[in-house]
Amino acid sequence: MWSYTFRRVLMTIPTLLAVITVCYLLLHLTPGGPFDSERKVSAAVLANLQAKYHLDLPLWQQYLYYLKSLLQGDLGASFRYADWSVNDLVAKALPVSATIGGLSLLLSLLIGVTLGTFAALRQNSAVDYLVMLLGNIGSVVPSFVMGPVLILIFAIWLPWLPAGGWMDFDVRYMLLPMALLTFINVSTIGRVMRGSLIEVMSSNFIRTARAKGLPTRTIVLRHAFKPALMPVVSVLGPLAISSITAAIVTESVFSLPGIGKLIVNGAANRDYTLVLGLVVLITVLTVLINLLVDLAYAWLDPKIRY
């Protein structure tokens, strides 16, 4: 297991290099540079700015320069946020996104598994349809519609919660964004849980258990639950990763100072170092999450050995 983990982590390096290189080229090919602004800077000032950020060097030299500082753990200086380093920015934004994303994933896991179980045990009943109908709404109503609707209801009509913003991990500011993300994720988890529990319940060993006369409650909790959870675990990885992407939308809807906000502003302002830094961060996170999911999977399923 350890050597497997080690190999997986090692494999991150070529992935990371490939992703960085592609993004690097894409960024520099994209028209408009970090210093194009409404007031065009004079040629002399532009030269000063480029010299300050080493953009006057040939592209390959800049690239090597970037890789070198990356090795030292330095993601460079931001262009858009001139007073801050990318390390500073990421260090402040990541906890915001991670808190909201992580908590909502946990919440959707709880709700989704419960709803899915409920629907599976009463398959094709009114309860099943209702639960699935509600769950489905999360996957068919785009988050950028649901978000403003939540704000309209809970911040404007019923002035219970702030319409957005962020105050040092104050829970009131976290509720609406978390509700939105949970809504989206619950539908996926609920559907998967329902499907897999139905499958497990119709398998031979459950039939045997039934034949022995065990009550449904015991059967589900003791025997069916764990194998039914396996597919749920396998979607947790993609869901966690898509939360990072979803952050782009939620954070702009709720004006949150997280990673998603940095991505949008970084790309729009051609903040080369910031965007690359975020790409590195997200890539590493993705690989780690996938690894964790695989390990959890192995733990749940004794048949898998690495």
Binding site: M11, P14, T15, A18, V19, V22, C23, L26, L27, L29, T30, P31, Y129, N136, I137, S139, V140, V141, P142, F144, V145, P148, V149, L152, I156, G195, I198, E199, S202, I241, I244, T245, I248, V249, I263, V264, A267, V275, L278, V279, I282, T283, T286, V287, N290
Partner: protein, 303 residues
């Protein structure tokens, strides 16, 4: 030796007579199972209606999707002048814009899905069939693609390449084919070890021919299911790109663009948001139910 050759060609002819492992009757079973599923059938009808309306509706309506009317800005739904869905902030008929937008969204959905499914099948079948180092490299590339923050790259790509319709399709395709590739590879590995494939190999049928003549047809069930799952995902991705201001160019529109316009004014003129959002959601809902229905129908063990 002779005996063995006979066995091989027997197996081969059997396989050629019956190209699909399941044969015909399982497909008929599947069809019957599907049509017994009321939710799926209702969804199919609804989706067909929406599609037909988007294709033919604009020809039947008295308005053009681009004509502005400064005396009829932000009208609510009304029979006057046949503005059944009302008008947008520039006095353009919302019904016709919703239908035209639907054309774009559905076309993006179908084209990008077809492209990514084709790419996914080709990639997965090739990797699975050839195996060895090629397989390792190809699947490593798939892993890499999963690790790419796709929305960020999509933003860059659309900015870089422009906001033409086909570029939006291309951008979405690039990040939607990996699931398919993985599934197909797994199935290919399973099918590959079957005897009739070994037989085809033995008599010298070329690798691409084996992949496309024998392996791909056997993947049909799983492909159909995955396709229906991919369509709503792709349509949703298009709408997210539109929300970020990277959708198709005005005066052309899509559901995503219309919804983006509508969210700003949802308090004062809610119908500008409501109609496109409703159409998009109904379409996604139907696609999901059809997907579920197909899965239940084609995969009997999942019952």
């Amino acid at each position: 030796m002779t005996a063995k050759r006979t066995t091989l060609s027997d197996t081969l002819s059997a396989a050629l007579d019956n190209p699909s492992v399941r044969g015909r009757s399982p497909w008929r079973d599947a069809r019957e199972r599907f049509f017994r599923n009321k939710a799926a059938v209702a969804s199919l009808v609804l989706l067909a209606l929406i599609t037909l309306a988007c294709v033919f509706g604009p020809m039947l309506l008295p308005h053009s999707y681009e004509d502005t009317d400064w005396d009829a800005m932000s009208l609510g739904p009304t029979l006057v002048n046949w503005h059944l869905f009302g008008t947008d902030e520039l006095g353009r008929d919302l019904l016709v814009r919703c239908l035209i937008g639907g054309r774009i969204s559905l076309t993006v959905g179908v084209l990008a899905t077809l492209a990514s499914v084709t790419l996914g099948i080709a990639w997965g079948a090739t990797a699975g069939f050839i195996g060895g180092k090629v397989d390792t490299v190809m699947m490593r590339i798939v892993d890499m693609m999963y690790a790419v923050p796709y929305l960020l790259i999509a933003i860059l790509m659309v900015t870089l390449l422009g906001r033409e319709f086909y570029l939006v399709v291309l951008t979405i395709t690039v990040f939607s084919w990996m699931d398919m590739a993985r599934v197909v590879r797994g199935q290919t590995l399973a099918i590959k070890s079957r005897e009739y494939i070994e037989a085809a190999h033995a008599i010298g049928v070329s690798t691409p021919a084996i992949i496309f003549r024998h392996i791909v047809p056997n993947l049909l069930g799983i492909v159909v299911i995955y396709t229906t799952v991919t369509v709503p995902g792709v349509i949703l991705t298009e709408s997210v790109l539109s929300f970020l201001g990277l959708g198709v160019q005005e005066p052309m529109t899509s559901w995503g663009v219309l919804i983006e316009d509508g969210t700003g004014v949802m308090e004062s003129t809610p119908w500008i948001l409501l109609f496109p959002a409703l159409l998009l959601s109904l379409t996604l809902y139907s696609a999901n139910y059809i997907g579920d229905g197909l899965r239940d129908a084609l995969d009997p063990k999942d019952r």
